[in-house]
C-alpha cells in the first residue's frame, strides 16, 4: 500500500513539474533558513559546554547600589577572592584573573604580541580546558606559563615547547609547564596563554599592594567553582552581604553575586541586578524568524495544493467510488507531502552546506553541520516530519472530504471557506515578510543614524598602541622622535583608549553632594596634548598646563560629568578625588568614547598618563609609509616587543558589529521570506488565471483590453498585500520600538518606512503576478471559449 502511495506521489510530482518546482523550491528555501538559524542558535547555546563539569563554574560579580539604581560590575577585589577562598567550604576553587590583553612573548628572535590572561593557580581546575601536555597544576610556580597549541607553534615551530623558556614583557623567563588545545571559538574565555597570577603580583607591585587592600579596590575578575552537589541557591545568601561589614561606601553598597557559566554568553546584560536578557533576545528573535519563514514555506504548500484541488477532485471521486476510505486518502496525500518535504530537506542540506562558508564569514562563528551526530539527524528528520504534517494536513483533509457524486457529475464548487482561508494564509505570509522588511529598514536606519552621530573627536588617522615597560621608560624620547619624523602630528598617552572608558570610579566629594550619594564616573588619566591629539574641544576653561606639579590638583570634566554633578558654574569649583581637592579647570565637549548608541559617559580627566599611546598620523603622509616609519622608531625603543597598532576608526566601527550583524541577518531572512511568499503567489496567480480563463475570454470578447484584464487579475492580490501591510505595520512598530528603547540615541520611527515598505511589497507582488496575469490577458479568447 505504502509503495503504491509513493508511486502515485512520485508520478504526480513528475506530471506537474512547474507546480512541484515551486513547492519544492519554496520548502527548500524555508527549510534552509530554519536549518541555518537552527545551527546558529544551537551554536549560541553550545558556548562553554565543551568544558567538562562546566555547570559548577561561576563568575563573581557585584551588584552595586548607586543611589537606588543597581549596577552590576564584573570587577572585584583581591580581598574578596581571599574571603571566598578561605571562608566557604561550599566553594571548591577560586581564581583571580585579569582581562585578556596583550603581552610581549619572545623566544630567541621570535617576538610576538599576543593576548593572554594572568590567572590564579586553580583557574584550570575551574575551567578544565583539555591539555595536550602537562596538567592543571602547571600554574603553581610563579615563573611558569601555560600556552595553547597555536601559541606553541608560533613561538617554537615544530619543536617541543614543553619546559622551554619564554621571555615575557622583556623581563622574566617563564617556563612552559603545559600546552592546552586551542580555545574553541564558542568559548566565552579567550586567550593564547595563561601566566600565573602569582607572577603578576611579583611583576607588578601595584597588584601585590591590591592584595592587602579593602573590598573597595575592585580591578580584577574572579571565578569560582562550587563543590559537586552544591547549588548556587545554597550559597547565594551567605556571600551576598559579605563585603558590607567593611566601612567604605563602595563595599557597603555592594552585593556579591555569581553568574553560572551557562549564562555568560546569552544572559550578558544585567538590569536591576539580574541577568534576564542580553544576547538571548537576539537568539530568541531569530528562532522565531526561522520558524516563521518555515511556516511561510508551509503555507505555500497548503495554498497551492488546495488551490489545485479541482484537478485532483476527479481522482478523489473515482477512488472513493471504487471503495477507498477517507483515511486511506488522507494517508495518500500525507505521503505526498512527506515525499516533497524530504526532497526539499535534501536540497536544503545541500544549500546550507553551500552557503555555510559565507554565513561563517558573516557571523564570525565556526558553525558546521554536525552530519555525524545522531541527535542532529533525529532532530532534522523529526522536524521534517512535523513540517510535512503541518503542510500536508489541511490539503489532505480538504481533498479527502470531497463528495464523490458531486465531483464526478462536475457540480463541485470550491467552497467559499476554502477561498477565504487561502486568502488569510496569504495575508499571514505577507504580514510576516513585510514586518521583516520594515524591521530591516529600521535596523539599518538606526545603525546609519548612530554612525552619522557626531563623535566629539576626530577618528580619522588616529592610532593606538599599548605601552610596555621599555616604552614607558623612553616615552619622552619616543614622543620626540615620532614628532620629528613627520609621520605623527600629535601624540599623547591615556589610561583608556580613545574608544573606551576602562575605569569608572567614585567622586569622593563635590559641591552639593547629598549624604550617602555615590557618583561613579568615567575616569581617564591623560598626559599632555590629550585633547589636541583626539581633536576634542574645550567648551570652557583651559587645558592642563603640562606641569606635573600644577596639574596634579586639576581636573577637566566633560559636559555630561558637569550635568551629573549638577554644577551650574563648574570652573574653579572643587571636587575631592584620590583623597585630594581638585580644581575644575576646564570643561570639554562630550565625546562618544563608549557606546555610540548611548548618551555620552560622564567622564573626568586627570593629568597622569597611562598605558595607551594615542597618536595622529600627519595629514600629508601616506598611511603605509607613516606606519613603516613609526614602526622603526617603536622598534628602536622597545626591541623586545613586536610593534602593534590599532586604527581608532576601525575600533569605533567595531562598536556597531552586533547591530550590523543583526541588520544583515534580518535583511537576508526578510529577502528569503518575501522570495518564498512570492513563489507561492506566483503559483496561486497561475492557478487563478487558469481558473478564470473562461471569464477572461468572455471579458475580452466584450471588449476588455489587456490592461483591464491585468488589473482584474492583480487587484485581488494587491488587496491582500495591502491588508498585510496594515497588519504588519503596527506589529513591526511595537517590536521595533521595544528594540530601539535600549538605545538612548535612537531614531524616531516615521510613517515613511511603512509607506515605502508597502509600496515595495506591492511592486514586488505586481512583478510576481504580472507574468501570469499578462499571459492570461493576451491569450486568444476564441480558444478558451471554444472549450465549452
Amino acid at each position: 500500500m505504502i509503495k503504491n502511495y509513493f508511486k502515485i506521489a512520485w508520478r504526480n510530482l513528475w506530471k506537474n513539474k512547474a507546480y512541484s518546482l515551486i513547492n519544492i523550491g519554496g520548502l527548500t528555501a524555508g527549510i534552509a533558513v530554519a536549518l541555518l538559524i537552527g545551527l546558529w542558535v544551537s551554536y549560541q547555546y553550545s558556548y562553554d559546554k565543551f568544558l567538562p563539569n562546566y555547570g559548577q563554574s561561576y563568575q563573581v560579580r557585584r551588584n552595586f547600589n548607586s543611589n537606588g539604581d543597581t549596577l552590576t560590575f564584573s570587577t572585584t577585589s583581591l580581598k574578596l577572592a581571599d574571603a571566598l577562598r578561605n571562608g566557604y567550604p561550599e566553594i571548591e576553587y577560586v581564581a583571580e584573573a585579569d582581562e585578556n590583553r596583550a603581552h610581549g612573548l619572545a623566544v630567541g628572535d621570535t617576538k610576538l604580541s599576543l593576548d593572554g590572561i594572568q590567572a590564579g593557580s586553580d583557574f584550570l581546575k575551574i575551567f578544565r580546558f583539555p591539555f595536550l601536555q602537562g596538567n592543571a597544576n602547571g600554574l603553581r610556580d610563579p615563573y611558569s606559563i601555560i600556552i595553547t597549541e597555536s601559541t606553541a607553534k608560533a613561538l617554537f615551530g615544530n619543536k617541543d615547547a614543553m619546559n622551554q623558556l619564554i621571555k615575557v614583557d622583556n623581563k622574566d623567563n617563564l617556563k612552559v609547564t603545559g600546552i592546552i588545545k586551542d580555545i574553541p571559538s564558542n568559548s566565552s574565555l579567550q586567550f593564547n596563554y595563561i601566566i600565573p597570577f602569582s607572577y603578576f603580583e611579583i611583576a607588578d607591585p601595584g597588584v601585590k599592594e591590591a592584595r592587602n587592600q579593602s573590598f573597595g579596590s575592585n580591578g580584577f575578575v574572579l571565578y569560582a567553582k562550587l563543590k559537586d552537589g552544591i547549588k548556587y541557591k545554597q550559597i547565594a545568601p551567605k556571600i551576598k552581604n559579605l563585603e558590607k561589614y567593611e566601612d567604605n561606601l563602595n563595599a557597603k553598597n555592594s552585593d556579591v553575586i555569581m553568574q553560572p557559566i551557562q549564562d555568560w554568553h546569552l544572559y550578558n546584560t544585567y538590569t536591576n541586578g539580574k541577568a534576564l536578557g542580553g544576547f538571548i533576545n537576539y537568539v530568541r528573535t531569530f528562532s522565531i524568524i526561522g520558524i516563521l519563514v518555515l511556516v511561510i514555506a508551509c503555507i505555500n504548500f497548503v495554498n497551492l495544493t488546495t488551490a489545485r484541488s479541482e484537478k485532483r477532485a476527479r481522482e478523489v471521486g473515482i477512488r472513493k467510488a471504487i471503495g477507498s476510505k477517507r483515511k486511506q486518502l488522507i494517508v495518500q496525500f500525507l505521503t505526498e507531502s512527506i515525499l516533497i518535504t524530504f526532497i526539499a530537506l535534501f536540497f536544503a542540506l545541500l544549500l546550507v552546506q553551500l552557503v555555510l562558508p559565507s554565513f561563517r564569514l558573516l557571523t564570525g562563528n565556526s558553525i558546521t553541520i554536525p552530519f555525524n551526530r545522531f541527535y542532529f539527524w533525529l532532530i532534522v528528520t523529526g522536524a521534517a516530519f512535523a513540517t510535512a504534517i503541518l503542510a500536508g494536513s489541511r490539503p489532505a483533509f480538504y481533498l479527502s472530504s470531497f463528495n464523490p457524486v458531486q465531483v464526478l457529475k462536475g457540480t463541485l464548487k470550491t467552497a467559499s471557506g476554502a477561498i477565504f482561508s487561502r486568502k488569510a494564509l496569504v495575508v499571514i505570509q505577507f504580514s510576516c515578510s513585510i514586518a521583516l522588511i520594515i524591521s530591516t529598514v529600521i535596523i539599518y536606519q538606526q545603525i546609519q543614524y548612530a554612525k552619522n552621530r557626531p563623535t566629539g573627536y576626530t577618528l580619522n588617522r588616529l592610532v593606538t598602541t599599548i605601552t610596555n615597560s621599555d616604552l614607558r621608560r623612553n616615552m619622552d624620547a619616543l614622543k620626540n622622535d615620532l614628532l620629528q619624523s613627520g609621520a605623527v602630528s600629535s601624540l599623547t598617552t591615556a589610561s583608556s583608549p580613545a574608544t573606551g572608558v576602562w575605569w569608572h570610579s567614585d567622586v569622593e566629594n563635590f559641591p552639593g553632594k547629598n549624604t550617602g550619594e555615590t557618583v561613579e564616573m568615567g575616569t581617564i588619566l591623560v598626559s599632555a596634548d590629550y585633547f589636541k591629539t583626539l581633536g576634542m574641544q574645550l567648551k570652557a576653561g583651559h587645558d592642563f598646563v603640562n606641569d606635573i606639579k600644577a596639574d596634579s590638583n586639576s581636573v577637566i570634566l566633560n559636559e555630561a560629568a558637569v550635568k551629573r554633578l549638577r554644577l551650574k558654574e563648574p570652573l574653579g569649583q572643587y571636587i575631592t578625588k584620590f583623597g585630594r581637592r581638585m580644581t575644575i579647570i576646564g570643561v570639554v565637549k562630550d565625546a562618544l568614547m563608549d557606546s555610540p548608541f548611548q548618551s555620552a559617559d560622564p567622564t573626568m580627566f586627570f593629568f597622569d598618563g597611562g598605558s595607551n599611546i594615542i597618536y595622529r598620523l600627519s595629514p600629508n603622509i601616506n598611511t603605509h609609509q607613516a606606519i613603516d616609519k613609526i614602526a622603526a622608531i617603536f622598534n628602536k625603543y622597545s626591541p623586545a616587543y613586536q610593534y602593534t597598532y590599532h586604527f581608532v576608526d576601525e575600533d569605533y566601527n567595531k562598536k556597531f558589529n552586533l547591530e550590523v550583524l543583526v541588520g544583515k541577518l534580518a535583511g537576508i531572512f526578510a529577502g528569503l521570506a518575501i522570495f518564498i511568499s512570492c513563489l507561492g503567489l506566483f503559483g496561486l496567480a497561475a492557478y487563478v488565471a487558469e481558473q478564470r480563463t473562461k471569464e477572461i475570454g468572455v471579458r475580452k470578447v466584450l471588449g476588455a483590453t489587456v490592461t483591464q484584464v491585468w488589473i482584474l487579475l492583480s487587484k485581488d492580490f494587491i488587496v491582500l498585500v495591502i491588508v498585510s501591510c496594515i497588519i504588519a505595520s503596527p506589529i513591526a512598530l511595537y517590536f521595533l520600538q521595544n528594540w530601539l528603547y535600549k538605545y538612548a540615541y535612537r531614531i524616531s520611527i516615521g510613517p515613511e518606512v511603512f509607506v515605502l515598505s508597502a509600496i515595495a511589497a506591492i511592486i514586488i507582488t505586481l512583478a510576481t503576478i504580472s507574468f501570469q496575469a499578462i499571459k492570461a490577458a493576451i491569450a486568444n479568447p476564441v480558444k478558451s471559449l471554444r472549450s465549452e
Binding site: 471579458r699 466584450l702 471588449g703 483591464q708 486568444n780 471559449l785 465549452e788
Partner: protein
C-alpha cells in the same frame, strides 16, 4: 457593411495545409439577417469568429464598414470591434461571479461609459427584455433561456450595428428558441441591426433574409428570400 474576399484559414499539419475556410468571398449589407448553416466542422464558427475579428484569416481581404481590417493594427481593430459588434454564444458565456445587472453592464465599463449613463442604459435594457426582477440574480439561478436573454441583452447594450450569434438557441428548448429568434427578427426589422447567426436548425435559419450553406470550408449554396 462587410466584405470578405478570398478568405482562407488553414492549419499547417505536417506538409499539408488543413483548410478550415477555403477561399470564401461574402458580402453582407447593412440590415441583413444572415443564417450560416452546415454540418459540424464545415467552418461555420471559424467564419463567424473571423467576421467578429476574434480570429484572423490566413489569407484574404476583410473589409468592415469601409475599413480594411486585414491591414489594421490590433488597437484599431479592437476599437472598431467595440464600436460595432456584439456577440451571442451558444453557451451564453455569462460571467458566473457577476449578477445579471453586472453582466449586462460590463461591456459599457470597457467602453468607458459614465456611471450614471450606464445605469440608465442597463435599466432600459432590463426593462426591454422584461428581466428587471432578475437583475440581482446570478447566472446559475436562471434557466437556459433566461441566461441567453441576458447574453443578448449584454450583446445589445452597447448598441452594436452587427450581432454575431453562434448557435444562440443550441442549448435551449424549442419554445425558448422560438422566443429568441422572434427577438432577433424584431431587432433586425425594427432597429435595423444586422445579424449573422450560425445555426443547425433549418427552422431558425428561415428567420433570416439569407441562408448560406457551408461544406468543408466552402460556400455550397446561398439563398436569398
Amino acid at each position: 457593411m462587410l466584405s470578405l474576399q478570398h478568405i482562407s484559414k488553414y492549419y499547417q499539419a505536417g506538409g499539408n495545409k488543413n483548410y478550415v475556410i477555403n477561399d470564401i468571398s461574402l458580402d453582407v449589407d447593412e440590415g441583413e439577417f444572415v443564417s450560416i448553416m452546415g454540418p459540424s466542422g464545415s467552418g461555420k464558427s471559424t467564419l463567424l469568429n473571423i467576421i467578429g475579428m476574434l480570429d484572423e484569416p490566413s489569407e484574404g481581404y476583410h473589409y468592415f464598414v469601409n475599413e480594411a481590417v486585414h491591414q489594421l493594427k490590433e488597437k484599431k481593430r479592437a476599437a472598431l470591434y467595440k464600436q460595432y459588434i456584439g456577440f451571442v454564444f451558444q453557451a451564453y458565456h455569462l460571467i458566473d461571479e457577476l449578477t445579471v445587472y453586472e453582466n449586462i453592464e460590463t461591456p459599457l465599463i470597457y467602453q468607458d461609459v459614465k456611471g450614471s449613463e450606464r445605469k440608465a442604459m442597463v435599466a432600459d435594457m432590463l426593462d426591454r427584455f422584461q428581466i428587471v426582477g432578475k437583475k440581482d440574480l446570478f447566472p446559475a439561478q436562471l434557466s437556459g433561456g433566461q441566461q441567453q436573454l441576458v447574453g443578448i441583452a449584454r450583446a445589445l447594450i452597447a448598441k452594436p450595428k452587427l450581432i454575431l450569434a453562434d448557435e444562440p438557441t443550441g442549448n435551449l428548448n424549442s419554445k425558448q428558441g422560438e422566443e429568441i429568434m422572434e427577438l432577433f427578427s424584431k431587432l433586425n426589422k425594427e432597429d435595423g441591426v444586422t445579424i449573422i447567426q450560425v445555426t443547425h436548425s433549418e427552422k431558425n435559419a428561415e428567420y433570416g433574409s439569407r441562408i448560406i450553406n457551408l461544406l468543408d470550408g466552402r460556400i455550397e449554396s446561398s439563398r436569398k428570400f
